[in-house]
Symmetry: C2
C-alpha cells in the first residue's frame, strides 16, 4: 500500500423525498445562487417545482442556467461564470447528472478568478479557491456528486479535459433514488458501465498489498452486477436503485483508491471516442474496457484471475489461469450486452477509419503515454482500438 491522504467532506443526504431539504442546505452556504441544470426533464418530472419551492421557502433567490448537454461544453461554463460574477452569486446548485455537476464545478472555479478557467483544464496553474457547490443527483453514473473531478469539452477542437481539486468537493449532495425511475433504459445501462469502469480503473493497479481495497472494489462490482438487471427489468425498483445509486457514489468518492494508483487508460481512450463521435461515455467504456483487458492481460495475469474468480464467479483452474482470466472478460462482455450495451465499436456505428486519429490525439501525437497499469503509447492505443472494432 502506498502512503496516502484522504478526506471527503461532502455531506450525503440520501433517500426518498430528501430533495425537499435543499433550501435549508443551500441556506447554510448562500442566499443567492446559480441554479444549473440540463434539458427539460427536471421540469417535466416536477423536480424543478419541488426544488424551487424549497429554495423559495428558505428565502433563497436564484439565477437559472439550463441547457447542459452530455459531455458538457466550455461555452456554457463561460456563460455561468458571467452570471455568477454579474449577479454576485454565492453558490451553484447543480440539479442533474454528472454533466451538470461537472459544469457547475467549472463555473465554481471560474467565478472566483480573473483569468480563463480552461487554463486549469490545460494544466496551466491550479485553482486556489472556488464557489461552494451543492448537487441534486438525477443520474447514478459519473460519481461527480462526491468527487474531486470535473471533465469539460472545449468545442474549439473538441478537446475533453479534466481537473481534480479538493476545492470542488460538493458541500452537500442530495441523492433520492426515486429521481432515477424515469431515466431511459439506455442511459441506465450507460450509467452502470460508467460506475463499473470507475471501479475497474482503480482495481487494475501495480501497487502490491492492496488486499483490503481489492475486496471493497470487488464487493461494489458484485453489487452492481447483481442489482443492475433488476432496475433494467423494473425501473421503479426503489430498493435496487438505492444500492446502485449509493454504489455509484462510493465507486468514485476516492475512498476506493486509498493507497493505490489507478489506471485510467480506458477513460482516456474513451474520451477520444466520445470527443469525436459524441457517444455516451458509458457506452464507449463498455467497448474500450474488454479490448484494453485483452491487450494488457499478461502484464499481471494473477490480478485478472482474482478478478474473474471473485467478481464473476469463474471457477478457478490452477492449470490454466489464462482461461480463467479470459472467462471473466467474456462474462463482463456478456453482462454489458445483457443490459443492452454494445461491446464493439461497430455496435456504436463507428467504423475503423479514424482509429489512427484517435490513437494520435489520445497520446498527443505519441508524445505521452496513457494509463498506469501498463503505459500505452500511440501504437498500443491503436491496437486496443483495433481489438475493439
Amino acid at each position: 500500500m502506498k502512503n496516502f491522504e484522504f478526506r471527503n467532506p461532502t455531506k450525503i443526504i440520501f433517500g426518498r423525498g430528501v430533495e425537499e431539504k435543499v433550501g435549508d442546505e443551500v441556506g447554510a452556504c448562500s442566499q443567492k445562487i446559480l441554479l444549473h441544470f440540463g434539458g427539460g426533464s427536471i421540469k417535466a418530472s416536477g423536480l424543478y417545482d419541488r426544488v424551487t419551492a424549497s429554495l423559495r421557502q428558505a428565502g433563497i433567490t436564484w439565477v437559472e442556467l439550463g441547457g447542459v448537454k452530455p459531455n458538457p461544453r466550455l461555452n456554457l461554463v463561460y456563460e455561468g461564470i458571467k452570471l455568477c460574477k454579474e449577479n454576485n452569486l454565492g453558490m451553484i446548485l447543480a440539479v442533474g447528472g454528472g454533466s451538470v455537476i461537472d459544469s457547475a464545478k467549472a463555473i465554481a472555479m471560474g467565478s472566483v478568478i480573473e483569468g480563463d478557467v480552461w487554463d486549469f483544464y490545460l494544466g496551466k496553474g491550479v485553482p486556489v479557491n472556488a464557489l461552494p457547490i451543492g448537487t441534486i443527483l438525477t443520474i447514478p453514473a459519473a460519481g461527480s456528486e462526491a468527487s474531486t473531478g470535473t471533465v469539460i469539452t472545449n468545442e474549439d477542437g473538441w478537446l475533453k479535459r479534466a481537473v481534480n481539486s479538493e476545492l470542488i468537493y460538493p458541500r452537500f449532495s442530495i441523492l433520492n433514488p426515486e429521481l432515477a425511475f424515469s431515466l431511459p433504459r439506455f442511459q441506465v445501462a450507460c450509467g452502470v458501465a460508467d460506475i463499473m469502469a470507475h471501479l475497474m480503473e482503480r482495481y487494475f493497479t501495480n501497487v502490491s498489498h492492496v488486499a483490503f481495497t481489492d475486496r471493497l472494489i470487488e464487493a461494489t462490482l458484485k453489487t452492481l452486477i447483481s442489482l443492475a438487471p433488476l432496475v433494467m427489468k423494473n425501473p421503479q425498483d426503489y430498493d435496487a436503485w438505492s444500492e446502485l445509486m449509493w454504489a455509484g457514489t462510493i465507486a468514485h468518492n476516492n475512498i476506493l483508491d486509498t493507497g493505490r494508483v489507478g489506471d485510467w487508460a480506458s477513460h482516456d481512450i474513451e474520451h477520444e471516442i466520445s470527443g469525436i463521435y459524441d457517444v455516451a461515455h458509458g457506452a464507449g467504456l463498455a467497448v474500450v474496457f474488454p479490448a484494453w483487458m485483452k491487450y494488457v492481460l499478461h502484464h499481471d495475469l494473477n490480478r485478472f484471475v482474482q478478478w474473474s474468480v471473485r467478481v464473476w464467479n469463474v471457477e478457478m483452474d490452477v492449470f490454466d489461469p489464462e482461461a480463467v482470466a479470459l472467462a471473466g472478460i467474456e462474462k463482463m462482455e456478456g453482462f454489458f450486452r445483457s443490459i443492452g450495451l454494445g461491446t464493439q465499436l461497430a455496435d456504436l456505428g463507428i467504423q475503423d477509419d479514424r482509429i489512427d486519429e484517435m490513437a494520435d490525439k489520445c497520446t498527443g501525437g505519441n508524445t505521452r503515454t496513457v494509463g498506469n497499469f501498463v503505459k500505452l503509447d500511440r501504437e498500443a492505443v491503436r491496437k486496443i482500438l483495433l481489438l475493439a472494432k
Copy 2:
C-alpha cells in the same frame, strides 16, 4: 435501505513516517494545544520525541497530559478540561489508541462549556461546540480516529457511557502502521476482535435491501480474517498492518452503516463485563459475540447463513441452514482462539457469580432493553451471559 445522512470530514494521513507532518496539521488549527497520551510507551518508542520535534518546528506550544488508561476515566478528563481552560488551549492532540482519543474527545466537549461534560454522557443535553481534535493512532482497534463516538468510564459507580456527535470527528488523523509494530500480541488480538465486532454490530440488522453495505462489511471482515494471523506471526509485517489499520478505521467511520441500523447489544453487554472486571474491551467482545449469536440465531437465520457462507467460507447446505449458521459461529470462535483470545467468561477468569448483577446493570434494572436486531431484556442478557460462561 433507510434514508440517511452521512458526512465524515476527518482528513486521513496514512503511511510510513507521516507523523512528522503533525506540526503543520496542528498549525492549521491552533498554536497552543493539549498534548494528550497514555502511559510511557510513546516515550520509550521515540514517538514522543518525533511528535514534539515536529510541533516545535511548526512553532506550536503545548501543555501535556499523559496517564490515560484503558477504559478512560472521567477524572482525567476533568483534569484535561481544567488545563485547556486555564491555559486557553485551542486544540487537543491525542497520541495513542482509542482510549486516549476518546478521552481527548471528552475534553474537547468539556472545555467549551461551563457545566459538567458527564451530563452529555448521561444524555442530559447535547454538545453544540467542541475544541478541534487531531490524532496520531498507535493501536488499530477502536476506530475512534475517524468516528463520532467517545466512551468514558465514571469511576464513581464504574459507569461506562458513550456520546456520539459530529462535532468530535477529528480534524485529522495520522495513521502510520509502523507505530503498531511494538504492540503486545494480546493487545493486537483484542484490537482485531474490536474491529470485527464493529463490523458485526453493523451487519446484523433488521433493515432489508442492504446488499451493498452487506458486501462491504463482508469484504472488511474477510480482510481481517486473512491478515490478522500475519501480524500475529510477524509483528513487523508492514503490508499486513497497513490493511488492518485502514480496515479498523473504515469499520467504524460510519460509512458501513449508511442506510442500516446496527445492533450494539454485544457492546452494551461487554461494557458491563469490562466495567466490573476491567478486562480488555476486545477480549470481552470475543466472549460475548458467540453467545449473543447463538441466542439470536433464529431471529433471522438467513442473515447468519449469508454471513457464514460469505465471510467464513462455510459450504452452503440448503437442506440444513441452521448447521451452516452454527458452523460460521464455530469458525469465528476458532479464529478468536487462534489469535490467542478466549471465547468463554471462564477464559477471562470470570466466574458466573455476578451474571445477574451484569444483566441488571445492562438493562437498568430491566427498565430498558439493549440491542436493535433483537431487543434484549434482563432475562435475555442473563441467558446470553450464561451461554458465555
